[in-house]
């Protein structure tokens, strides 16, 4: 066990890889009590560090028509509020999966999901592009996923080990 890491580091490390483990299982892995794990997770949630538990879904494999796009947005920041107001406004939309403020050639990276290509394209043109403060958009469609959240797609497909070996 790597003792340079705190229990908090270790819990987050485990949860990043697999959030379906029970407190008891995590406790066994770390050699602590389930109560200690429960308390640490509660504290992480209280501090807004651990924000949620969600599934990793290969969306294109689930629905052949489904489309996800990453939209690069250039926006004009506002006095006092900076990018927060517009970023929050964009994040409110059901079609928006994630919003991040970026360094470099554009300002906001917005991930948009829709049932088909048209739905995503129309959302960008009718909602994002026309929003006050949005200067330009560049839309990139995701063609295939190879890895998300530390998880390779498709899972286990390339375990070429024998079923049984010495």
């Amino acid at each position: 066990m790597d003792n340079s890491k705190t229990i908090r580091d270790r819990i987050l490390h485990i949860l990043r890889g697999n959030a379906r483990l029970t407190d008891e299982q995590i406790a066994a892995m770390l050699g602590v009590t389930a109560q200690a794990v429960g308390e640490e997770i509660a504290e992480l949630e209280k501090e807004g560090i651990l924000v949620g538990f969600t599934a990793i879904i290969n969306e294109e494999a689930y629905d052949k028509n489904a489309v996800t796009a990453i939209v690069e947005l250039k926006v004009s920041p506002q006095m006092e509020n900076g990018y927060n107001a517009i970023a929050n406004k964009i994040a409110q939309n059901r079609q928006v999966v994630s919003v991040q403020l970026m360094s470099g050639g554009f300002d906001l990276a917005v991930t948009v999901k829709g049932e088909n290509l048209r739905e995503v394209a129309m959302f960008v043109s009718d909602h994002l592009a026309v929003m006050d403060g949005v200067l330009s958009t560049a839309t990139h469609f995701i063609l295939k996923r190879f890895k998300e959240k530390d998880t390779l797609f498709p899972v286990d497909a390339d375990d070429e080990r024998s079923l049984v070996s010495p």
Partner: protein
Amino acid sequence: MINYDKILSEKVKSIQFSGIRKFFDIAATMDNVISLSVGEPDFKTPWAIRRKAILSLETGHTRYSSNSGMVELRVEACKYMQNLLGVSYDPNNEIVVTVGGSEAIDIAIRALVNDGDEVLVPEPSFVCYAPLVELAGGVAVPIITKVEDNFKLTPKALKAAITPKTKALILPFPNNPTGAVMRRDELEEIAEILRGTEIMAISDEIYAELTYSDGGEDLKKHVSIASLDGMRERTILINGFSKAFAMTGWRLGWVAGPEPILTQILKIHQYAIMCSPTTSQYAAITALSSPEVRRDVDYMVNEYDMRRRLCVKSFNDMGLNCFNPEGAFYVFPCIKSTGLTSEEFCERLIKSKRVAVVPGTAFGKSGEGFVRVSYAYSLKHLTDAFARIEEFLREIK
């Protein structure tokens, strides 16, 4: 028609295929099997190692190396043993780079054994020792290790097995399949018995990096018997890249020991193998010398340790008593409470729930009542398999 049975070597005919292989044949006929049966890491070989191999191919380094292996690799391996184990070997004449730990075990045994010599083999243990001893004309004498001794070799059991014909003692720790390790004080008791004799220890330390402890960092570290007073001269040390560096398919290991023995070992290696694969040797230099690889190894060890704890708890919770292993990547739960033999348990488990674990008996008769479960798998894979095993246990009650 040639009567093959008549022309073949009696010695070769008398040895059996490994029990693991037999079980593999059953598993291979089935679909959707969740296997907990592999003896190799789930991690891929660290990228820095693979990159070095590719580079060596691109630049055309594809010739034979010297028989004992590339000088740079021997130097690195000796440094590694010095750092990890505190034992020093001369890279010029006290080490041979082999085709995996397996070749190292074979040629170490062959270099020592005369017809009728006895070699002590603690059991349960890896499948190759007894057959290789027999092929060399020796007699393999099992020493049973017991769960109540935490599957360690006890001085009492060792003393009872020694006869005037005893040539060598295999020390298979950290142990496959039990996960048992020998701590310094326990090895000291073994060394004390060997010191007054001419019995050689063949210490198979392929899992030396994969050791764990629930009692602090100091305890965690593997101890080699070669590092104890007076033991370097009576130890042949075997190590390799397969387990710690996730390099099973590269087939590379080494054997180190006193020069008079290594000189003889080198002769066998020279005629049987010529030299170990050069591409693998280039890769292995990086494995031992790169700080990036060191971090990768530390990461893997930490992951194994967490899985180990989860496995022990899960089996104990299911009612299958699980000895707390401190090495390798296996747990060895006891299945006696089910009333089934190890083979029955494994066959019924794979037939009804499609989960493959290896019967303890594949590692010697003393493995009866136990099964080997590998945790070289992702947490999801492990927890899915545990759920199926739990269901199985409920159904056979």
